[in-house]
C-alpha cells in the first residue's frame, strides 16, 4: 500500500514538474516569442491571426475557451487589445495571469495634451506598434522570460539560454537589416496607418505623411490629392502599408505618381512563409529595401 502511495506521489510530482505552461498570446508575434523562449516547456496559442487587424477583434466565445485553460496571457498593451477584458471575463479563469509586454518599452507618440476623437483613433498611452522595432522584441522577450521564470522557476536556466540565443539572433540580424536599409536613411516614405514609427526610427527612414488623414479614418479624395502633390514634389518612392488594409487608395495614388505600394504583414503568419519574428522583420526589410 505504502509503495503505491509513493508511486502516486512521485507521478503527481513529476507531472507537475513536466507540465507545460499553457500560454495564450494576443498576437502571433508574441506567440512566436513565447515559443522561442519557452521551447518545449510551453504550449502556446494566440487570439488575433497574423492577417487580422489587432485593433478590432470580435469577441468570440472560442477565444474565451482558449483563455479558460491558460496559465498566462501576454498582451501588447497600450490599449491595442480593447477586446481582451471581455474575453477574460468570459473565460471565468480566475487564475489567469495577465502580462503586459509594454511595461519596459520606451513609448513613442504618447499624447501630451488631452486626447479626443477629433484627432482620430489616437492611442492615449502611446503608439502600440512597438514590436516593429527588433530592439523592442528583445525587451518583450525579457518580459516573457521573466513571466515564464516566475511561473516555473526550475526551468529558469532553460528559458535564459533561449532568451540569450534569441537576443544574439536579433543582434546578428540587426546588422544585416541595417545594412540593407542603409541606402534609405533619411529618405522620405509614406505609410498607410500611423503604425511604423518604431520601425522607421530604428532604421532611419522618415515618414512624411499617412494615407489615412487621421489614425483610423478612411482615405479621402482631398487627402489623396494632397499626398499626390507631396509625392511629386519630394519624389517619394514608397507607400508602406499593412496587408490587412485595403490598398485601393494607395493604388489610386500610385497610378497618379508611380509610387510603389509595399504591402507587408506586420505579424507572424500574416503571409505564407513568414512563420517567425525574425522572418517577419526580414520580409519587411527586404520588401522596403527592394522597392525604396
Amino acid at each position: 500500500m505504502k509503495k503505491y502511495l509513493i508511486l502516486i506521489l512521485v507521478t503527481l510530482v513529476s507531472l507537475h514538474l513536466y507540465a507545460e505552461i499553457k500560454v495564450v498570446a494576443t498576437t502571433t508575434n508574441i506567440a512566436n516569442l513565447v515559443q522561442v523562449i519557452g521551447g518545449n516547456k510551453v504550449s502556446v496559442d494566440y487570439l488575433c491571426r497574423g492577417d487580422q487587424d489587432p485593433h478590432f477583434l470580435e469577441v468570440l466565445p472560442s477565444y474565451m475557451l482558449k483563455l479558460r485553460n491558460a496559465d498566462i496571457v501576454f498582451k501588447i498593451g497600450l490599449d491595442l487589445e480593447k477586446w481582451l477584458p471581455q474575453l477574460i471575463d468570459g473565460s471565468r479563469n480566475d487564475k489567469l495571469e495577465l502580462v503586459d509586454l509594454s511595461k519596459d518599452i520606451s513609448k513613442k507618440e504618447v499624447p501630451t495634451a488631452k486626447v479626443d476623437a477629433s484627432q482620430g483613433d489616437v492611442h492615449p498611452y502611446g503608439n502600440p506598434h512597438y514590436w516593429l522595432d527588433p530592439e523592442n522584441a528583445k525587451i518583450m522577450a525579457e518580459e516573457i522570460y521573466s513571466a515564464l521564470t516566475d511561473f516555473s522557476s526550475q526551468d529558469a536556466d532553460y528559458f535564459k539560454k533561449n532568451l540569450d540565443n534569441f537576443k544574439n539572433e536579433i543582434d546578428s540580424n540587426m546588422k544585416i537589416w541595417a545594412s540593407k536599409l542603409s541606402g534609405l536613411k533619411q529618405k522620405n516614405i509614406i505609410t498607410f496607418h500611423k503604425s511604423w514609427i518604431y520601425f522607421t526610427d530604428r532604421f532611419g527612414l522618415k515618414v512624411v505623411d499617412n494615407v489615412e488623414p487621421k489614425p483610423g479614418l478612411p482615405p479621402t479624395p482631398s487627402h489623396d490629392a494632397s499626398l499626390i502633390q507631396i509625392i511629386k514634389k519630394d519624389k517619394i518612392k514608397i507607400i508602406l502599408m499593412e496587408n490587412y488594409y485595403s490598398d485601393s487608395a494607395p493604388n489610386h495614388i500610385s497610378e497618379s505618381t508611380g509610387i510603389k505600394v509595399v504591402k507587408v504583414p506586420i505579424a507572424v503568419y500574416g503571409i505564407e512563409g513568414v512563420n517567425s519574428y525574425i522572418k517577419l522583420i526580414d520580409y519587411i526589410v527586404n520588401q522596403v529595401s527592394a522597392n525604396g
Binding site: R49, Q52, K82
Partner: protein
C-alpha cells in the same frame, strides 16, 4: 495597537487611492429617425416626419476583480427610464458560474440581449413586439450562467427568475399596475446556447430558450366571473435561435441570423358573461442577412412573421393572445458607417402586411426610414 493602527491606515489609504483611480466607462449612443409612412389610413400619408431623438447613457465598469456593474439610462419618446441596472459576478464562484442581478434584457434568444442600435436593421422583429413588448423582454431578477464542459465548443446554460413585470407590460401595456394584471408571481427564463468556430472565417451559434409563468389573472379580463374567479393564465414560450457569420477579412462579412418562438398559453374566449377557458398555440419567426461589402457599407434584408396584429390595443384576444390574425414584413436596408463605430446611417424600407381572419382586411403599410446613430465615449468590442 500601533501595528493595527498602521494596518488600518494603510487599508484606508489604499481604498482612497483605488477610488480616486477608478472611473467607470461612460458612453452615450444617440439615435435620430426621420421617416415617411405610406399608410393610406393615416393623415400623415407621405409626409416626412421626425421622431424625437433618443439616447442611451451607459455607465459601466469593474466593481472589483470579480464583478462588474452597469447602468443604462434611456431617453425615448421624450421620457427617461432606467433600461438596465445590474451587477454581475464574473469569476470566483463555485462551478465557474456567473451571476447577474438587477434589471436588464433577458437572454431569451440572442437578439433580445443586444440593444437596437447594435442591430443592422431598425425595427424590432414582429414576434418580439407581440410576445415581449416594443421595448423587448426586460425584467427585474437574477440569472445564473453555467459554462458546460463541452471541450471543443463553448456551451452555456442560463437559468433566471424574474418579477414578471415584463409579462404584465406585454399583457396590458406600460401604464398598468402589474399587480392588478397578474398578481405577484415569478416567471422563469432560460437558454442553452452553443458556439462553434467552424474555421478561421466561419462561426456559428445556436440556442434553445424557454420561459414559463403566468401573464395575467383571469379576473383582469373577466372581473366578475363566477366560473374561474381567481384563475391564473399561464404561458410557455419556447424559442430557437441561430447566427452564422462569415468574415474572410476586415472589410467583408456576411451575417445570417434567425429566431423563432412558440407561444403556448391559456386564454379567455367567449363573452364576459360566459367566458371560456382555452389554450392556444401560436408562433412567430424572423430571418435576416446583412452583407458588409466595403469597410463603410452594408446591405441586408429581413423577413418577419408573427401571429397577432402590430399596433392592436390590448385585450383578451389581441397581441399575444391572438391566434387568428397574422402580421408579416419584408424589410431591406443599406447601412453607411463613415468612421468605424462613431457614426452610422441606415436607410430602410419596411413593408408590413396583414392576414386577418373573418374576411377582415387591413391595408399594407410601407415605411421608409433614415436613421442616424452616433456614439460618444469608449466602444466595447463587438460580441458575436
Amino acid at each position: 495597537m500601533v501595528k493595527k493602527t498602521i494596518i488600518f491606515f494603510l487599508i484606508i489609504c489604499s481604498v482612497s487611492v483605488a477610488q480616486s483611480n477608478v472611473n467607470p466607462d461612460i458612453s452615450l449612443i444617440g439615435m435620430f429617425d426621420t421617416y415617411m409612412n405610406f399608410d393610406k389610413n393615416t393623415p400623415d400619408y407621405g409626409k416626412l416626419l421626425f421622431d424625437i431623438p433618443s439616447f442611451e447613457l451607459y455607465i459601466e465598469g469593474y466593481l472589483n476583480p470579480y464583478a462588474r456593474a452597469a447602468v443604462n439610462i434611456a431617453f425615448e419618446e421624450g421620457e427617461f427610464s432606467a433600461e438596465e441596472i445590474y451587477a454581475q459576478i464574473l469569476r470566483g464562484l463555485p462551478l465557474d458560474i456567473q451571476i447577474k442581478a438587477g434589471k436588464y434584457f433577458l437572454g431569451f434568444g440572442k437578439l433580445n440581449t443586444f440593444h437596437p442600435h447594435a442591430w443592422p436593421f431598425i425595427d424590432r422583429p414582429l414576434w418580439q413586439q407581440i410576445y415581449f413588448s416594443d421595448e423587448g423582454f426586460n425584467d427585474i431578477g437574477l440569472d445564473v450562467n453555467f459554462i458546460l464542459p463541452t471541450e471543443d465548443f463553448y456551451t452555456t446554460l442560463d437559468l433566471g427568475v424574474y418579477s414578471g413585470n415584463s409579462m404584465a407590460i406585454n399583457t396590458a401595456g406600460e401604464d398598468t399596475d402589474p399587480d392588478e394584471v397578474r398578481g405577484n408571481s415569478l416567471i422563469f427564463v432560460g437558454r442553452l446556447g452553443s458556439f462553434f468556430s467552424l474555421n478561421d472565417f466561419n462561426n456559428f451559434d445556436v440556442g434553445l430558450s424557454g420561459s414559463y409563468g403566468n401573464y395575467a389573472k383571469s379576473s383582469f379580463y373577466v372581473p366578475d366571473s363566477v366560473a374561474f374567479p381567481s384563475q391564473t393564465l399561464k404561458y410557455f414560450y419556447g424559442g430557437i435561435d441561430f447566427k452564422f457569420k462569415y468574415k474572410p477579412d476586415s472589410y467583408t462579412s456576411l451575417v445570417i441570423q434567425g429566431e423563432g418562438i412558440l407561444n403556448h398559453r391559456d386564454v379567455i374566449r367567449g363573452t364576459e358573461t360566459e367566458p371560456i377557458f382555452e389554450t392556444i398555440t401560436t408562433y412567430g419567426a424572423f430571418i435576416y442577412f446583412d452583407y458588409q461589402f466595403l469597410k463603410q457599407f452594408s446591405v441586408g434584408a429581413k423577413y418577419d412573421f408573427t401571429f397577432g396584429v402590430i399596433g392592436d390595443d390590448y385585450s383578451a384576444t389581441t397581441i399575444s393572445n391572438d391566434n387568428a390574425n397574422k402580421t408579416s414584413d419584408i424589410e431591406g436596408w443599406i447601412g453607411y458607417y463613415p468612421v468605424e463605430e462613431t457614426l452610422a446611417f441606415r436607410l430602410s424600407t419596411q413593408y408590413l402586411f396583414f392576414n386577418l381572419a373573418d374576411n377582415m382586411t387591413k391595408d399594407g403599410e410601407t415605411t421608409i426610414t433614415l436613421q442616424m446613430i452616433f456614439s460618444l465615449g469608449p466602444h466595447k468590442a463587438h460580441q458575436f
